[in-house]
């Protein structure tokens, strides 16, 4: 176990300028190399810009700063758990604070399931470093060798003499100990916190309605604002008349910038009402697209589009020519909205001497950079205070709401809270892109997969394939390509980008192929993986053994193939560095398929908080099932047909199946879990529905497919 901890002289000098008691260690949680804990002489570490720190006060309170935006992935609990584990801290004495944006955090964002994997070693080193210094301090006081002392539950103990000192009592002395250059990390078999269920540290605030979220932020003297944006993608602002709106009670101003007309007033309701009275004329800038056009476009581009080759192995043409059997399948998904519960919002105050930003964003550093660029104000004059996020799902990776708030504040010269209504959010873009996939498979006479083709067509999707994912590497002849259509309808990352739908399409198609080959779907996948292991084709970017592991465990836990009263469907997916296999069980009720249960086996490496991890898996499955079953955004002349929860359907309590979660315990460092449980769900469910009804789900949402329309 190694780590280096040499401090730069400059940092150290900066810290000795502060006075006070206790032990304070500043860290860069996110540095790419080994961490460099830095000792402070005071608890005021945050005041000098070292926002990421761990402190132990003379009363024994341990404060740990959690730097990542918190949106329900519970990073605010799991980060400190890792530190506390190595520190041998009494968890009851640990206080967790949400850090504000700091320049030193190079990965202060939430997205891509990367927070824990990225920081795992750094967090452990932080805790182990502090523990080392506390033990050294105690050993010095007692004049015994440090090797005879142990730490547990916020105490250092010398068992031979029965001496014991608390971390609080030792904090001051520990602060005089030099920061060690290497520390030893615990063996995972000795973990006391990691892997256990630890409750969310913010529970009490959440259940008592404390102001945690961006929308709850209030500042004396602030004004409220909403923006009217073009309702149709492809339109731009031509002219507006805000006189009636401006004359309404409580309205302070109506101003315009870019394609926006903003109404500013004294309360949310007054602004909301006045905004309806704006008279705005728009003019066409780009094509106004409709879902009907997209359906035709997909067909056309599938056959005639200009394709970009993403991966090519062997000779697919030859493989298909000599095939005993060829199977084809196409799958399509609509646009969907992220629609987190908390609508978009941000507070901005642009003053002559600097900018203050407050609100919920998944990418605070990017928000600040964008505001800096927009207003031509240097970044060091901009502060950003993070609030808790009422959900994100990728929507808050984009900071349009923050830049809007800043621009508006700079125009009206007042502190402003910009609020999007749910309708604004749902019709305002950055959707999960609509895509269509065509798969083709060639089988030889013994049912072996000899050729595989995938073409993805996406609307503003970028690359709609993940060309190196399974089954790539297991098929000798393979061609994956894609076609993109540029549209005025804006898209963005949606929880498990691309794979949130691609995984369904691929896993449903593999089911079709297994069936055509006369093989059991689980065995078929295992055979492919065995082949990839024995004679890999090209580049393989997934871990074959880990994938086999989750497949076998899911089959075992679900009693795959042994149940008579339910129809089972299988799916497995590798995404964002973790592996999840799922089995869905469907029964027929009143002639309609009903999902009764989903088993999920995840290999995400070391689980940090067991309940946190199981919440992520269950939430991911509910999310994956809900959007596969019910949700879609359609368009007419560039405008979304759905604008709120009355016409955009989200899954509700009665529609969720029982979920059983399992984790592979293999001791690998954490590989992330915010997204990986979502992609496999649609495929498992679709395959179970096929088993139950003989009908293949081709399009999302499933609820519009024929099997859900025929009531017996």
């Amino acid at each position: 176990m190694k780590s280096t901890t040499t401090n730069s002289r400059r940092d150290f000098l900066k810290m000795t300028a502060i006075t006070g008691g206790g032990l304070v260690l500043g860290f860069n949680w996110f540095s790419a190399e080994a961490n460099a804990p830095v000792k402070f002489s005071s608890i005021g570490a945050g005041d000098v810009g070292f926002n990421s720190y761990l402190s132990i006060s003379t009363e024994g309170t341990i404060t740990i700063l959690s730097p990542n935006p918190e949106l329900g992935q519970n990073i605010i609990t799991s980060f400190p758990m890792v530190v506390a584990e190595e520190l041998e801290a009494d968890w009851k004495k640990v206080k967790v604070l949400q850090a504000n944006l700091d320049n030193k955090f190079d990965r202060q964002l939430t997205g891509g399931s990367g927070a824990v994997p990225h920081s795992w070693k750094l967090l452990r080193n932080a805790g182990a470093t502090a523990k080392f210094m506390l033990i050294e301090a105690a050993a010095k006081i007692w004049s015994v060798p440090a090797s005879e002392c142990t730490a547990a539950n916020s105490f250092v103990i010398h068992s031979r003499s029965g001496k014991k000192l608390s971390y609080g009592e030792l904090a001051e002395a520990a602060s005089k100990i030099p920061v060690p250059s290497t520390v030893k990390l615990k063996d995972r078999k000795d973990f006391k916190l990691i892997g256990k269920s630890v409750r969310n540290v913010e529970n009490l605030k959440i259940v008592t309605g404390k102001p945690l979220f961006g929308l709850d932020f209030y500042r004396e003297g602030m004004v409220y604002a909403m923006i009217q944006r073009p309702e149709q993608f492809g339109m731009k602002l031509k002219s507006f008349d805000g006189s009636i709106a401006k004359a309404m009670p409580g309205i302070i101003d109506v101003v315009s910038f870019k394609n926006n007309v903003a109404v500013v007033g004294k309360s949310t309701w007054q602004v909301l009402k006045a905004r309806k009275l704006l008279k705005i004329e728009y003019e066409k800038e780009f094509d106004l697209e409709s879902t009907e056009d997209h359906d035709k476009l997909f067909m056309n581009l599938m056959d005639n589009g200009q394709a970009t080759v993403r991966r090519k192995d062997g000779d697919v043409d030859a493989a298909f020519k000599s095939a005993a059997k060829v199977i084809k399948g196409e799958y399509q998904c609509p646009f969907i909205s992220h629609s987190p519960m908390e609508p978009m919002n941000f507070f901005a105050h642009v003053r002559p001497d600097g900018v203050e930003l407050v609100g919920p964003t998944q990418t605070p550093a990017r928000a600040r950079a964008e505001v800096s660029q927009l207003l031509k104000i240097p970044e060091d004059k901009i502060t950003l205070q993070l609030t808790r996020l009422g959900g994100g799902f990728g929507r808050r990776l984009k900071n349009d709401f923050a830049t809007e708030a800043a621009e508006l504040s700079s125009i009206i010269k007042a502190p402003v809270k910009l609020i999007w209504t749910k309708e604004d959010d749902m019709t305002g873009g950055t959707y999960r892109p609509a895509c269509r996939y065509r798969f083709e498979a060639a089988l030889d006479s013994s049912g072996n997969l000899t050729g595989y083709k995938l073409r993805g067509v996406g609307i503003n999707s970028g690359n709609p394939t993940r060309e190196h994912n399974f089954p790539s590497g297991a098929v000798d002849n393979l061609l994956i390509d894609s076609v993109e259509h540029k549209s005025a309808i804006t898209t963005g990352a949606w929880r498990a980008p691309i794979t949130n739908f691609l995984a369904f399409a691929e896993q449903a198609f593999l089911d079709e192929v297994a069936l055509a080959a006369g093989k059991d779907p689980v065995q078929f996948r295992l055979d492919l993986l065995a082949k990839a292991k024995k004679s890999p084709v090209g580049d393989i970017r997934y871990d074959i053994s880990r994938m086999e592991g989750v497949i076998k465990m899911a089959a075992e836990k679900s009693g795959w193939g042994k149940k008579k009263d339910v129809s089972q469907g299988f799916s497995v997916y590798f995404s964002h560095a973790s592996y999840v296999a799922q089995v869905a069980e469907v029964i027929m009720r009143n002639g309609l398929p009903v999902v009764k249960k989903i088993y999920a086996v995840s290999d995400c490496g070391q689980v940090v908080s067991m309940n946190g991890a199981s919440h992520q898996v269950m939430g991911g499955i509910v999310d994956g099932l809900g959007h596969a079953m019910y949700s879609k955004l359609s368009f007419r002349d560039g405008a979304a047909d759905q604008n709120n929860y009355n016409n955009y359907r989200l899954i509700r309590m009665k529609e969720v199946p029982e979920i059983e979660t399992h984790f592979v315990d293999n001791g690998i460092d954490p590989t992330g879990l915010g997204e990986p449980a979502l992609p496999p769900t649609g495929g498992a469910v679709a395959n179970a529905i096929f088993k139950a009804t003989g009908k293949r789900m081709r399009n999302q949402p499933f609820i519009e497919e024929d099997v859900f329309k025929t009531v017996s």
Partner: protein
Amino acid sequence: MANYKLQVNGKTLQADVEADTPLLWVLRDHLGLVGTKYGCGIAQCGACTVHVNGSPTRSCVYPVSAVGSSQVITIEGLSEQGDHPLQKAWDEIDVAQCGYCQAGQIMTAAALLKQNPKPSMDEIEVTMNANICRCGAYHRIREAVKLASSKI
């Protein structure tokens, strides 16, 4: 504009607002009680649920002029110490993910338990089905309501 005297969480509070202002925005913007959440504004999600004379009410579509002398209870007033059986169960089961919907969930459940302290799982589902949790914490919401009901 008119001056409304409202009975909220056992106190008389005043707000100068227009008659059609939804109770939600009066609570949030004028009375500083931001525990009640704005989710949809059209009575679809339940994030804004408060009790009006004990009945679960979607404050986003309930005009302040309709409140009169009714007793309004918000999440801040559900218990003094945050120790209502539901609040305790929510912590014990560790229900929340992002947490944004949870005040509305708890207020909906509190009204249910008041009127039916020992609901069946089916009854819990029928009631709680009206509230959306975008994070999908439905299993634990159901479990926590059951747990709280066992402690009443």
